[in-house]
Amino acid sequence: MFRYYLKLGVLSIRANPALSTLMVAAIAVGIGACMSIVTVRHVMSDNPVAHKNEVLYHVQLDNWNPDDPYEEPNEPPEQVTYLDATALHQAERAFRQTISFKTDRVIQPAGEDARPFQEEVRATTADFFAMFDVPFELGGGWDAAADQTEERVVVLSLEMNQRLFGGEDSVGRMLTMNNETYRVLGVLQEWMPMPKFYDLNNNPYEGAEEIYVPFSLAVTGKWYSSGNTSCWKSPDGGDFAAYLASECIWIQMWVELRSASEKDTYMQFLDDYVEEQKSLGRFPRELNNRLSTPAEWMVDREVIDDSVSVLLSLAVLFLVVCLLNTIGLLLAKVMRRTNDISLRRALGASKSALFSQYIIEAGMIGVAGGLAGIGMTWMGLRGIESVFSEYDFIAYLVSMDWTMIMGAVALAIVSALGAALYPTWRACSVSPATTLRIQ
């Protein structure tokens, strides 16, 4: 029977080509509008460390102004001071801990005609790579000892190794930055955390830094942060030492805690630390320490732009219009076939047989709409890419994966079946006699 109904469906669809095209196109356009925005949102809200979401925590302490919270109503600052970052890092009370910030250096590639260029550099500590599961292609990161000895070492991204060393095994080779030489310790595999969860302060989609240097080197070299620095109280003096000793926040701190009890213990440790600092005259606000998982942190920092949410709500309404359109057209089609239906009913077709027949027909329109919808989604994403073409990260936000493709088809079929329910019900409730009577 199923194949017979399929055949009937095809015949009925072909009987009204213009109308069927309109229905398929309406579903496809609605799906395309919805799914292209959903895709962008899906990429934007991705959690690159979802597999470690239960063990990684972003650390916040409230060292802010007693009269004015960092953010209303009572949010602690999103970064920590140098004083606190280093004290907490040295205490080593978490399973792993890392403190880091973004800065920049001028890279001077070897070779006579190679031109120097400026690059963003992440100054960080040894645990960074293990905590965030950063994959290495060659060599490895530095160990905790290098955090102390201030050895001049670097880790490069795959692209940077390609750019500087032509993709060769560069481990052990030397690299010059700001007229100082560094030894290459390791090269990463392709690593593109989107959003850049560990530092959401500037553009969350700018991608990871291409060069990693020990935190301690950056501090002794007096490299200022190229990310955000916020101060509620000005440093006592204009030099780097005053910057380090100030209440200015510019460092991102993360810890890895393997269990709820480790988390509780660490929270207690943070509270004790702040209490101790209070007795030294710092931390004038009430105790307000926070540990947030990567997922919580991204929600807290609102990595999804409001515009995307606005567009999503309009796109959903758009799909509603497209479906209302389809329901109306299907209904009209059914109404016009009232005669056939009552004839079939009079000849003994059961309601469920009619239901199967019309729902299969609608399902076919749904599948067609879904397939065309994938194309529409792809076009929608290309459209978004072209209007945002000046953003160099836009390509990452408009990439479709299989989840989204399957989602588009599923949404189309569900929508088409949903749209078909009422017209089909109307078809089934046509009585055998009424329409035949007027013939």
Partner: protein, 406 residues
């Protein structure tokens, strides 16, 4: 044409008309809200930054030799002398940022010394010398520009701020609310305890962050900073910008090998990037509204055609009983007008409801009232245009049809 019979006929086939009315209602909801957002974004984009955007460009010089502040001061002076000496350059300044750049320096200003309070007013800060006002094309509406004596190099180990400032009028209004008269000669505190005397007021100079609510608040500070990182803003004489850009880049790159020149950008590019989100949103929404109108229009055409073919016999009977062609056309037009009106009334309510929800959730600007009647007129027109074709087809049904059995 009597509305009564048409209305009663519609009640016989409620579902079909309810669906169109709903479709029109939701279409209107999207249209109105999309239009409100487009209008808000368009207003953002049309704001002036205050600088002479058509003739201004900027570049960055990064020195990577071992840092020596005295050598840096010499280099900066040399650079500026070279740039200002070129024919076609109107003026140039070394500063930290410029309007629309999206990154910069902000400080809290207050009328009493001491730790920052909740009443402090945030302002963008541009560090400049006496060439800053002209380079930024600022119109000094009160007081005067900095004198060369007021401009100082920032000492390395001292954080005290210069005692002079030029503020925008918007900053003055925010700092001294309700006060009449000139802001010149008044003072405020920066960096907790450092007093600043206002020597001049400029009409307009935006902060670097276009998305900030205080975007019109900025101040010029007569201080030069000798860091390795220098941002030069250059204002060309009209027509000279494009030839000066590569010329100056080349000149600076060659004058000192221990630095690199990057980010050579025109203000046009800076503006484009700053408002990319807004312009993209306008384009996307315009496209959505266009598509939506097409789909709704085609839907109306499809349904009306159906109705016409379903009612072929009745139409034939009416024609046989003496109804004129225009009367048949009018029937479908009025029918569509009624459905549209019901839809648009529901749509008006839904539009306002969605707007309230969006204003609440995404802090958008509330809708301007006149958008609603505009959307109504637009959709009425679309509906009438869509139904016109099928209606004309209906009117051409021959009266003889009535005599045949269906």
């Amino acid at each position: 044409m009597d509305i009564g019979p048409i209305w009663r006929a519609m009640l016989k086939n409620k579902a079909g008309f309810v669906l169109i009315a709903l479709q029109i209602a939701v279409t209107m909801t999207i249209m109105v809200n999309a239009f409100a957002i487009m209008q808000e974004r368009a207003n953002n984009v049309s704001r002036e930054s205050g600088i002479d955007e058509a003739n201004t460009f900027a570049l960055v010089s990064v020195s990577f030799d071992e840092y020596d502040s005295e050598k840096m001061k010499v280099l900066i002076d040399e650079d500026l002398a070279l740039i200002r000496g070129l024919p076609g350059v109107r003026n140039a300044v070394a500063t930290n940022s410029f309007p629309l750049r999206q990154g910069g320096w902000s400080m809290a200003l207050q009328l009493v010394p001491g730790t920052q309070t909740a009443d402090a007013v945030g302002s963008a800060v541009y560090f400049v010398d006496e060439h800053g006002v002209d380079t930024f094309a600022s119109n000094v509406i009160d007081g005067k520009n900095f004198t060369p004596e007021q401009v100082t190099w920032k000492p390395l180990d001292d954080n005290t701020w210069p005692a002079y400032g030029i503020i925008t009028e918007a900053l003055g209004k925010e700092l001294f609310p309700g006060e009449q008269g000139s802001y010149v000669g008044k003072s405020f505190y920066i960096n907790e305890n450092d007093p600043v005397n206002i020597v001049g007021v400029v009409e307009r100079l935006q902060a670097p962050w276009e998305g900030w609510s205080g975007v019109e608040r900025s101040m010029l500070v007569p201080q030069r900073r000798s860091s390795e990182f220098q941002r030069y803003v250059i204002r060309a004489e009209p027509g000279y910008r494009d030839e000066l850009m590569p010329q100056i880049e080349e000149m600076l790159a060659n004058s000192n090998k221990d630095r690199l020149i990057r980010d050579v950008t025109t203000m046009d590019e800076v503006r484009k990037l700053a408002y990319l989100g807004d312009t993209a949103m306008i384009k996307i929404l315009a496209f959505v509204v266009g598509m939506l109108t097409v789909i709704t229009g085609l839907g109306i055409v499809g349904l009306a055609s159906f109705n016409v073919s379903r009612r072929t016999r009745q139409i034939g009977i009416r024609r046989a009983l003496g109804a004129t062609k225009p009367a048949i056309v009018r029937y479908f037009m009025v029918e569509n007008f009624i459905v549209s009106s019901v839809g648009l009334i529901i749509g008006g309510i839904l539009s306002v409801a969605l707007n309230i929800a969006m204003v609440e959730a995404f802090s958008l600007e509330p809708l301007a009232w006149y958008v609603i009647p505009i959307a109504m007129i637009a959709l009425w027109t679309v509906g009438q245009a869509a139904v016109a074709g099928p209606a004309r087809k209906a009117s051409s049904i021959s009266p003889a049809i009535a005599t045949r059995s269906s």
